[in-house]
Amino acid sequence: MAQVASTALELEAPSGSAQEGVAVPSEAGARQLIRDLVSLTKPRLSSLVLFTAGGGLWMSGAEVSWTTGTAAVLGTTMVVGGANALNCYLERDADRLMARTRTRPLPAGRLQPNLALAFGLLLSMVSVPLLTALTTPLAGLLAAVALVLYVLVYTPMKRRSSLSTLVGAIPGALPPLIGWTAATGRLDVGGLLLFSILFLWQIPHSLAIGIYRGPEYAQAGLKVFPNEHGLPATRRQAFLYTIPLIAAPLALIPLGLAGWCTLLVGGGLGLWFLGLAWQGLRQNGEGRWARRFFFASLIYLTGLFAALGLDGLWRAFV
């Protein structure tokens, strides 16, 4: 079925790419092929989903079977992997133009586009029914919405407007909500707060990347906020989005979904992160600040989720 879909979808591929249709080199063995297929899913990003979807599932507090829990985490990871693979397929031309991405399997010519397309479709078409059947239809629907938004709205929108960052943040923030609804079958305030935390987090995170990778994006024809609106406006946006970002996790505390750890660690890291955003408003060392801010966003999110996890353990065992 994947082959049929692959044939139907492989229409009007952009020309001018000498590597289109290049067969997998004979010396590249099955192991290399598997490595390339896995890399299409952007495994670092997909593995993050294990924690966010699993975190949402756990924080819902609902009792779920091992089957449901495994299907929720695995299905969410697969749908994200499928969306990433399809994104790689659709953006292979742009990826050739950026140093960061030109070594990926498709722009490097190690993988046939049709194979990447079939792989992405297969993952997507398996994961949504898997989530739907083994968890809840609502979780499956959210996964399908994330898939369609990411592949069919965000991906083409990147070439047209920097607003694509906001659109792309929606599917990026859905995994914890998918995990939550996989356990409960409904949209609750707690799940929506987790969604909003990840949504808000992605904006300053993406703006920072947009600052220090702006020239590459421009070369590839992808629109990012710093290139469209300038660096001062970008730093201002980063600061403004950071304010609700550090407030959102604290709203979990009165709901009983977070406690002292989140208040201390999340609040402390949040203030530090906000301080960096404030520094950005006052400094001109664009690239250096942006990289620091980018890494700070990673530290903030990791620390926040660790604190939420510790609070969860406290609730569960004490």
């Binding site: 139907a8 979808l9 009007e12 078409m125 239809p137």
Partner: protein
């Protein structure tokens, strides 16, 4: 003069991607549709039979439960307060729906200020049978059948006693509690029974 090469269309222009989106969304959406949408509801059961008692309404016309018309039936054999009024409330609610069903409220020996009677008189869609019409034997038999029909369900399931839905052949096809859920269930059962009557030979 060389013609500049046409800009290649973006791969997402293919309508196959629309199909991809629709299929992706359709799977969970289909699972969210209630089962009732996919499967026709089972036929209403035959719970009991009502006797073919001859009733006479307030205008002197005759009424029969075997006359071919489905009807909701409530019988007050003896004066009673809350439960009877509650059942009457169900009939009153049904009488004020967009397509009110046929209803029969039988008052065997009502005082003039009986709550069921007073409620019944607030609407002109009721067919009332008065003690002057049927013989006492008819009413007792009818009342006994009504009570035995209700007895098929536990009393706790029928707060207020329950209103009967009788098809055009005198068969009790449903019993509905005197509350909001009962009103909704009665409306659904009525629609079902009318559809069933339309398709049956």
């Amino acid at each position: 003069m060389a013609v500049p090469p046409a800009e290649p269309a973006h791969p997402l222009r293919s309508p196959a991607w629309v199909a991809f989106a629709l299929v992706s969304l359709a799977v969970p959406l289909a699972m969210m549709v209630p089962d009732a949408w996919w499967e026709p509801p089972p036929p209403l059961p035959h719970l009991a039979r009502m006797p073919d008692a001859l009733l006479v309404d307030r205008d002197g016309g005759s009424v029969s439960l075997h006359a071919g018309t489905p009807v909701f039936v409530d019988i007050t054999h003896e004066p009673c307060g809350g439960p009877c009024a509650a059942r009457t409330g169900v009939l009153a609610a049904l009488a004020h729906t967009a397509a009110p069903p046929a209803m029969l409220s039988v008052l065997a020996a009502p005082p003039t200020d009986h709550p069921a009677q007073l409620a019944a008189e607030t609407t002109d869609r009721w067919t009332l049978a008065w003690p002057a019409g049927p013989t006492p034997g008819d009413l007792s038999e009818l009342h006994a059948a009504w009570v035995s029909s209700r007895a098929t369900l536990p009393a706790s399931a029928l707060p207020g006693g329950g209103v009967l839905l009788v098809d055009g052949r005198g068969s009790v096809r449903g019993i509905f509690p005197a509350n909001d859920d009962g009103i909704a269930a009665a409306q659904a059962a009525w629609s079902h029974l009318v559809a069933e009557s339309d398709t049956s030979p």
